[in-house]
Symmetry: C2
């Protein structure tokens, strides 16, 4: 589990929460619960104060911290775990950024992972959340063609670590599809707390991060969007001094879903430029780095892509 690790000295690390609100529940019936054989059955009164809508943030400050803070926003169905370790056990983009001198703030966004959620009916989200099957991950993360799944045969040239599919399955957690606005509010609160920073965000997290950046008055100096969806209107960034970069992987022409998304990315970037915003497109296969899936932070070339992003951040 320690393959390819390089020592990193941390001046500080730990966690805090951002965003959310307090909810008082009243007039609900008592439940009877027994937690272990040492404890008697006891009544649990669900009435009282709960916290909902907050995000969990794990932070790591390297020593020396020579570069800007980076906020890392995971995509749908994943948690901050996706940045720390690839599913085949290599160090993730988090470690690469720390070694480069960037303090890092890793989110588990609202109702995901360590952020927790409120199961009291009427307080949190009442419909059931979704959890991806391995097959849905295969398709949604562009790991291989649909007909390749039964034999786990990826796209030819794919750099996703093929033996890591089961661990990827375990890195995924349930997610609601109705909490995006709360997630935007949590990232907004985090950016305001961190101050001037870069934000690196993946997939649905890209749309969430972009909306948060649009609402935080230039605090997000660099927005790195890895195959984002849910993007705001480019006009929301009129006058912004923050730069934006969309990072795109390989095999897009083989996926109708991603072909459509790529059109959206290109339109968005064009509209940003028209609005006077510095906006670039990092097309990994055209940049001589073929084989990336929708999960470049997990692909075998993860450090190579991380280096491209760190180099990009260093140009400001």
């Amino acid at each position: 589990m320690t393959a390819a690790h390089t020592p990193v000295t941390l001046a500080a690390f730990g966690s805090f929460t951002v965003g959310g609100r307090r909810v008082e529940v009243t007039d609900r019936p008592t439940q009877v619960v027994r937690l272990s054989r040492d404890l008697p059955e006891f009544p649990v009164d669900p009435n009282g104060l709960y916290s909902v809508g907050h995000a969990y943030v794990q932070y790591f400050v390297p020593a020396p911290a020579e570069r800007r803070p980076v906020v890392l926003v995971h995509g749908g169905g994943l948690t901050g775990t996706c940045w720390e370790t690839t599913p085949d056990g290599r160090p993730g983009w988090l470690q690469f950024l720390l070694r480069a001198g960037h303090p890092c703030y890793v989110l588990d966004n609202v109702e995901r992972g360590r952020a927790g959620w409120c199961p009291v009916p009427g307080v949190g989200e009442d419909a059931a959340p979704l959890l991806r099957t391995e097959r849905e991950a295969w398709d949604a993360f562009r790991l291989g063609p649909p007909e390749g799944y039964p034999t786990r045969t990826p796209f030819a040239g794919s750099r996703f670590p093929g033996d890591a599919l089961a661990e990827l399955n375990r890195q995924q957690v349930p997610r609601w599809t109705t909490t995006t606005d709360l997630a935007v509010a949590a990232v907004t609160a985090l950016v305001r707390r961190v101050g001037p920073c870069a934000v690196v965000a993946h997939s649905q997290g890209g749309g969430i991060a972009a909306r948060a950046a649009a609402g935080t008055d230039g605090l997000v100096e660099d927005l790195v969007l890895v195959e984002p969806h849910g993007l705001p209107d480019a006009a929301d960034f009129a006058g912004s001094t923050g730069r934006q970069l969309i990072v795109a992987g390989d095999f897009i022409e083989l996926s109708p879903l991603y072909r459509d998304l790529r059109r959206r990315w290109r339109t968005y970037l064009e509209e940003l430029r028209t609005a006077g915003v510095t906006a670039d497109y990092l097309d990994l296969p055209a940049s001589d780095h073929p084989g990336n899936t929708h999960l470049p932070m997990m692909d075998l070339t993860s450090d190579t892509v991380a280096e491209l992003i760190v180099d990009h951040l260093a140009t400001r």
Copy 2:
């Protein structure tokens, strides 16, 4: 947020999962979902492979790692977060153990936090989980007398950081009361992976850790149980070379629940000694460290208690 931090050099850190099983779901109806405005509505097929019953483990290896690995097992309703940062933002026991040279393995046990859970009916736990109210935490964590809650007046001399109650509320996540056996299996798998080690466990995690230790043939050389419940029979440790220590806080005589638990601890330790096991009781108030609640890893004296535990581990 960096108050009282001391730099720590990590040779490696990251995460992996342990335990659990794969489940194949078939014959369920398709759902229609829309994830963001860039994506069309699309059918989600819930049929396929899921992972359930695994735990998430975040590991930190200090450089140099001069002491034994320590596995940290959280209590009911909490996650590994409880070890990394106190709710008032100070470094947690995790950092203290790392600075002392112990590699640390921090669990989010089965269905908690980053371990995730399966929302497909019939696959995971079907009943609703529980989340503590602030009031329930006040009582269950022995922060103050019941009549003190409305004004947040703690036990006289309490060392819990009083202004941190709301953050403690946000550190808690939903938990099922039916997954203890799975949690024991996950800790067992982790101990087998780590090898000879110490385990520091809190509350319900204490019972879980003790059961895992009883099943792992002396790999757990030291079991530090912070106010545990759900303990196995002491006879399960007959012939064990592993030492056990129960750590108990203050104000126990003011809580009927904890008075009963303390009787159980004393009986358990007596039975362990009868079975030839080295078993000790660290009574914090009697050891000149008064004021601890059920959450000594969060109390204002958290580093003092951590030091007592590190010193205890060093005697082997």
